[in-house]
C-alpha cells in the first residue's frame, strides 16, 4: 500500500467508528459511550459488566443485532455497488441495475401475500433477486449485440419495469388492512425487526459473495478496461463477469431480503470510497465496505431517533442521495475522464 491511501482509510475508519458510537449511544434510552465500551469489553472477556442489567440488555439485545445488521447491509450494498460500477465501467450504476432489488421486492410481497413467515418471505425475496438477474443475463446472452454491457443494462431496466408491475399487481390484490401496510413498510426499507436469526441468514451470503469479489480484486481492475483489451491481457472476461455479477447479486439480494429496499447506498458510497483511496479494487472494496457500514449506521440512527415514529430507511437514503446524484451528474466528466 502506498502512503497516499492511508489517510483515506483513516477517514473511512473514523466514519465507521463514529457510526458505531452514535448507533449504540443514541436512542429513546440514551447510553454513555463508556457504558457501551464496558459492556462490549465484558462480553468479549467474559466478565460481568459494571452497568445495570437494563443497560446491558439495550446494548446487546436491542441495539446489538440492529447495529450488526446495519453494518452488514450497508457494507454489502456498498461492495456490490463498487463491483457493478467497475464491471459496467459506469459511475451511474447501482446494485439494483440488473433487477436484483426489483426481483427481491416481488419475492417479498408475494411472501407477504401468501402469509408466509419471515423465513419464507426472505427466501422468496432472495430467490426473486437471483431469478431476475438470471433472466437479465439470459437476455444478454441470447440477443446478439456489439455492446454486451449496454444490452445487459437495458435488459435490467426492462425486467425491472416488468417486476415493478408485478409488485403493483400483488399490492392491488392484497388485503388492504393487514397485508398492504406490511408490504409498503417492507418496500420502504427498515432494520427495526432484525433479530439474531436474521443475522445468520444475512451473514452467510454476504460473506460468501464478498469473499469472491475480494479474491478477484486484481482481475476486476483489469476488467475495468475495455472488453477486448482485458481479454488481450489474458482475462477470460465472460466467465469472470458471470462470477462477479453472481457474487454481487448474492450480497444485494441478501441485504434486500433482510432489510427491504434501501436504495442509493450502493450508488453513493463507492464514489466516496474511490475519492478516498483510489480506483484499485484491493483498496476500494474494504474502504467501500467500511464507509457503507458507517453510512448506514448513521442513516439508521437518524431513522430511529429523528421522529417519534421510525422513518423508513429508503426515504432517508433517497433524501440524501438525490442531491448527491445531481452533484455527481454535474461532476462526472471531471472525475471519470
Amino acid at each position: 500500500m502506498t502512503r497516499s491511501a492511508l489517510p483515506g482509510f483513516a477517514i473511512a475508519l473514523i466514519v465507521l467508528l463514529a457510526g458505531l458510537a452514535l448507533a449504540f449511544t443514541l436512542g429513546r434510552y440514551p447510553i454513555g459511550l463508556g457504558d457501551v465500551l464496558d459492556v462490549l469489553a465484558a462480553k468479549l472477556t467474559g466478565r460481568a459488566p459494571n452497568v445495570p442489567g437494563a443497560v446491558e440488555n439495550v446494548i446487546l439485545q436491542v441495539r446489538g443485532p440492529r447495529v450488526i445488521a446495519a453494518l452488514l447491509v450497508g457494507g454489502a450494498l456498498a461492495v456490490a455497488g463498487t463491483a457493478f460500477q467497475g464491471l459496467f465501467r459506469n459511475p451511474l450504476v447501482s446494485p439494483d441495475i440488473l433487477g436484483a432489488s426489483s426481483g427481491a421486492a416481488l419475492g417479498a410481497v408475494l411472501g407477504i401475500y401468501f402469509s408466509l413467515g419471515v423465513f419464507g418471505i426472505e427466501s422468496l425475496a432472495f430467490l426473486g433477486g437471483l431469478a431476475a438477474v438470471a433472466a437479465v443475463y439470459l437476455i444478454g446472452t441470447l440477443v446478439p449485440a456489439r455492446d454486451p454491457i449496454l444490452l445487459l443494462v437495458l435488459a435490467g431496466v426492462v425486467i425491472g419495469a416488468l417486476l415493478g408491475a408485478g409488485v403493483g399487481l400483488v399490492k392491488y390484490l392484497a388485503d388492504p388492512y393487514n397485508q398492504l401496510p406490511a408490504m409498503t413498510f417492507w418496500l420502504l426499507g427498515s432494520l427495526a425487526s432484525t433479530n439474531a436469526s436474521d443475522l445468520v441468514a444475512l451473514l452467510t451470503p454476504v460473506a460468501l459473495g464478498t469473499a469472491v469479489l475480494v479474491a478477484l480484486r486484481w482481475r476486476m481492475n483489469v476488467m475495468s478496461l475495455p472488453e477486448e483489451e482485458a481479454r488481450a491481457l489474458g482475462v477470460p472476461t465472460g466467465p469472470l463477469r458471470i462470477a462477479i455479477v453472481a457474487a454481487a447479486t448474492l450480497v444485494t439480494s441478501a441485504s434486500v431480503a433482510a432489510a427491504g429496499i434501501i436504495g442509493w447506498v450502493g450508488l453513493i458510497v463507492p464514489h466516496l470510497a474511490r475519492a478516498l483511496v483510489g480506483p484499485d479494487f484491493a483498496r476500494l472494496l474494504p474502504a467501500s465496505a467500511m464507509l457503507g457500514a458507517g453510512y448506514l449506521l448513521f442513516i439508521d440512527t437518524i431513522a430511529r431517533t429523528a421522529a417519534s415514529i421510525e422513518i423508513p430507511l429508503g426515504i432517508l437514503t433517497a433524501v440524501i442521495g438525490t442531491p448527491f446524484f445531481i452533484w455527481l451528474l454535474a461532476s462526472v466528466q471531471r472525475t471519470w475522464s
Binding site: P144, N221, P226, E228, L233, V235, P279, D280, T335, S337
Partner: protein, 255 residues
C-alpha cells in the same frame, strides 16, 4: 517462431469484412498494415490476436492453432496496444503497466515483487519512470501511448500488435513512438502495426501488407511494395513522390 493467418475470412457474425488473407509475421520483424478506412485493418488485427474468431481459415502462433489456446496462453504470446484511449478510472500509471503482468499470475493473485520489477523496467525502458505515480487519466496522449507500450513489454509476449499507434499524437510524439516501436523488434519481438502514413511504414517496417476492401492488394518488403502505383491503387487517389537525389530515399505526399 511466427504468427500466421492462413486463408483467413474475417468479420463479425452478421458481416463479412475480408476474404482470402494470408499474413505472416516472424520474430524480430516489423510488418506495417496499410489501407483505407473501413478496409478491414482493425478486424484483421483482432482476428490475428484471437479476439475475433476467423470466419474461415486459421490463425497459428508459435506452431499452435490460436483457437486451441486459452485466453491466458494467448496473452503470453501476443500483446495488444489499442489506440490511445481515455480510461474510465484514474489508475496510477504503474498499475496500468502492472496489468500487463496479469497473464503471468494466478486467477486470485495480486502482482508480485517480480511483476513490479518487470513493470518498473518497462517504464524505465521508455524513459517514463517519473510518471509511475501519476494517474493515467492525467498524462498527455503521447505519454499514454508510451505507457501502453510499456504495458505490452511488461506482458513479455513474442509478438506486439498495435492499432494506429500514432493516430492521435503530435508530430514530435509520432516520431518518438515510432522509434520506440522499431526498437521493440531489435529486442526480438515481432511487431505488427496499422498506419495511415506510408512514410512511417517505409522508414520503420521491414514489410508492408496493403489491404483494401478486405482483400490483399499486395505485400512484401517495403522498398518493393510501397510504390506510387501500389499506393494509388490502394487508396484510389493520386499520390506524389519526392526523391532525395543524394541518398535515393523517397517520401510520399497525399494528392
Amino acid at each position: 517462431m511466427t504468427l500466421e493467418g492462413h486463408a483467413l475470412a474475417i468479420g463479425y457474425r452478421d458481416r463479412l469484412v475480408g476474404l482470402g488473407l494470408d499474413v505472416a509475421l516472424a520474430e524480430g520483424e516489423v510488418l506495417a498494415l496499410l489501407g483505407p478506412n473501413g478496409g478491414g485493418k482493425t478486424t484483421l488485427l483482432k482476428t490475428l490476436l484471437g479476439l475475433l474468431p476467423p470466419r474461415a481459415g486459421e490463425v497459428r502462433c508459435a506452431g499452435r492453432a490460436l483457437a486451441s489456446t486459452s485466453i491466458r496462453e494467448r496473452a503470453q504470446l501476443l500483446a495488444y496496444v489499442p489506440q490511445s484511449h481515455v480510461a474510465t478510472f484514474a489508475f496510477p500509471v504503474e498499475t496500468v503497466v502492472l496489468m500487463g503482468r496479469t497473464a503471468h499470475s494466478g486467477l486470485f493473485s495480486r502482482p508480485t515483487a517480480r511483476d513490479r520489477a518487470v513493470a518498473a523496467a518497462a517504464l524505465k525502458r521508455f524513459g517514463i519512470e517519473h510518471l509511475a505515480e501519476r494517474p493515467y487519466t492525467m498524462i498527455s496522449g503521447g505519454e499514454r501511448q508510451l505507457v501502453l507500450l510499456a504495458r505490452a513489454l511488461a506482458q513479455e509476449p513474442r509478438f506486439i500488435v498495435l492499432d494506429e499507434p500514432t493516430a492521435s499524437l503530435d508530430f514530435g510524439n509520432q516520431g518518438k513512438v515510432m522509434r520506440e516501436i522499431r526498437t521493440l523488434s531489435t529486442a526480438g519481438h515481432g511487431v505488427l502495426f496499422t498506419t495511415h502514413d506510408p512514410n512511417q511504414a517505409l522508414r520503420l517496417a521491414d514489410r508492408a501488407f496493403l489491404l483494401r476492401a478486405g482483400t490483399r492488394v499486395t505485400d512484401g518488403p517495403v522498398r518493393t511494395v510501397l510504390t506510387r502505383e501500389n499506393l494509388e491503387e490502394l487508396y484510389g487517389a493520386p499520390v506524389g513522390v519526392l526523391t532525395d537525389a543524394a541518398t535515393g530515399q523517397t517520401a510520399f505526399l497525399p494528392g
